[in-house]
């Protein structure tokens, strides 16, 4: 019975792809910010580089 599993991963994908709050990300997922300034601040804090995606969703 795989349907509930499929449904939950689809819902999760939709939530993430809608630019949801990074706090929703779980341990096995990459945390994605949806705000450029926050990304700059996080990079300053962590000394990490930034991987910035621009997604146009007409």
């Amino acid at each position: 019975m795989r349907k509930p599993e499929l449904l939950s991963s689809t819902v999760l994908a939709c939530v993430l792809l809608a630019g949801a709050s990074p706090s929703l990300a779980q341990d096995d997922e990459i945390r994605w910010l949806d705000n450029y300034r926050e990304a700059i601040q996080a990079a300053k804090r962590t000394q990490k580089p930034i991987f910035l995606e621009f997604r146009c969703e007409p």
Binding site: G19, I30, L33, N35, R37
Partner: protein, 359 residues
């Protein structure tokens, strides 16, 4: 939607996958609204709906990943090449932290709120600032100000295939096949393209962006390649109309829509028809788009020869009547065509159309 599957695969990368392990070393951000973004810094071909930058907190850009061609929005999006690019981005970041990379000069800032047409037609209506609108409205302003150079601004992102380069997409900038201009210049399969006119390139997004910067009147472009660890410089003769690309996928309001495709006549064919030879843009209609009839734009038929537009028969750049209209006329303008149909000369009107955006 273009790039959706790729986008999902990247965003949902599991942390224990090779891609996830690379992404975990970055601050990842996914931006879907351009309102507060400096589009001067993140300049690109605005007809890409998906595009990536590797950069740092000082807003120094290490690399661009993405880019498309007329064939498909996904031609150069590939998870393997993305992983290579992510690894290279980390290496460049380490170099930067050690002071080993020079800061690039920051381009002049430009925010969407500074583009009047974008404000008027989009931002003030609280509509989404779609990427293609940024490119289009910038071009509309250039056209109004007499600063539009169609070869540069409308024919953006020249296709490297026109030079004869076929990349091995999963391997990033590794060349799979060579033909034409690059073969003549000595490029070989297996070479990795490393620079364009002195600027290092690390991914296809870089290559396309910097190749687009080549002056449209240039006769040559310099490319550096890495051949089995040895740097090799190549001077490539740019073929005629190397900048030309199929604009079909683009949404430019500055592009006069003509709804037909034509192929140039040979010099022999021009002679047989008694037409202007060298430099003449006489061309045979290959295909008429259904929109020609729907919009009553023109009554051209496949097989017609168009040899003049508003009395002009030659152009220093255009080799077809279709290209002449796109380059020399303004969208919405009506022109008079000189046509040969079944051996008879005639004139007919063609109304060019202007793309419109419904919001």
């Amino acid at each position: 939607m273009a790039g959706r599957a790729f986008d999902e695969q990247v965003v949902l990368s599991p942390t224990d996958s090779p891609r996830g392990k690379l992404l975990s070393q970055y601050v990842c951000a996914r931006i879907t609204r351009m309102d507060e973004i400096d589009v001067g810094l993140f300049d690109r071909d605005w007809n890409n709906t998906l595009y990536y930058f590797m950069m740092n907190a000082d807003e120094q850009i290490y690399m661009r990943y993405g880019g498309r061609d007329a064939r498909s929005p996904d031609s150069y999006l590939n998870l393997s090449s993305l992983e290579l690019a992510l690894a290279k981005g980390l290496e460049l970041h380490r170099q930067y932290q050690k002071g080993g990379l020079k800061n690039a000069e920051r381009p002049k800032p430009l925010f969407p709120r500074e583009i009047p047409l974008l404000v008027d037609r989009t931002i003030s209506r609280n509509a989404c600032v779609e990427c293609h609108l940024i490119g289009d409205y910038l071009n509309v302003h250039r056209e109004k100000d007499g600063k539009l150079d169609k070869l540069t601004h409308m024919y953006r992102s020249p296709d490297i295939r026109t030079l004869g380069i076929e990349l091995d997409a999963p391997k990033g900038l590794v060349v799979k096949e060579v033909r034409g201009a690059v073969a003549a210049a000595g490029m070989k399969p297996g070479d990795r393209i490393a620079g364009v006119n002195g600027t290092p390139v690390w991914a296809f997004g870089d290559l396309q962006y910097h190749y687009d910067k080549v002056n449209r009147n240039a006769e040559r472009v310099q490319m550096a390649v890495d051949r089995d660890g040895t740097p090799v410089d190549l001077s490539i003769a740019l073929p005629e109309r190397w900048w030309w690309t199929d604009l079909t996928f683009r949404q430019w309001t500055i592009e006069p829509r003509v709804y037909f495709e034509s192929v140039p006549l040979t010099e022999q064919e021009k002679r047989e028809q008694g037409l202007v030879e060298r430099g003449g843009f006489a061309s045979k209609v290959k295909r008429v788009d259904m929109f020609a009839e729907m919009t009553k734009s023109h009554e051209l038929r496949a097989g017609d020869i168009v040899f003049g537009v508003d009395g002009v028969q030659r152009d220093e750049v255009a080799n077809t009547a279709e290209l002449f209209i796109k380059l020399r006329k303004t969208a919405g303008e009506t022109v008079t065509l000189d046509v040969i149909r079944d051996g008879k000369r005639m004139q007919m009107k063609l109304k060019t159309y202007k793309m419109s955006f419904r919001k």
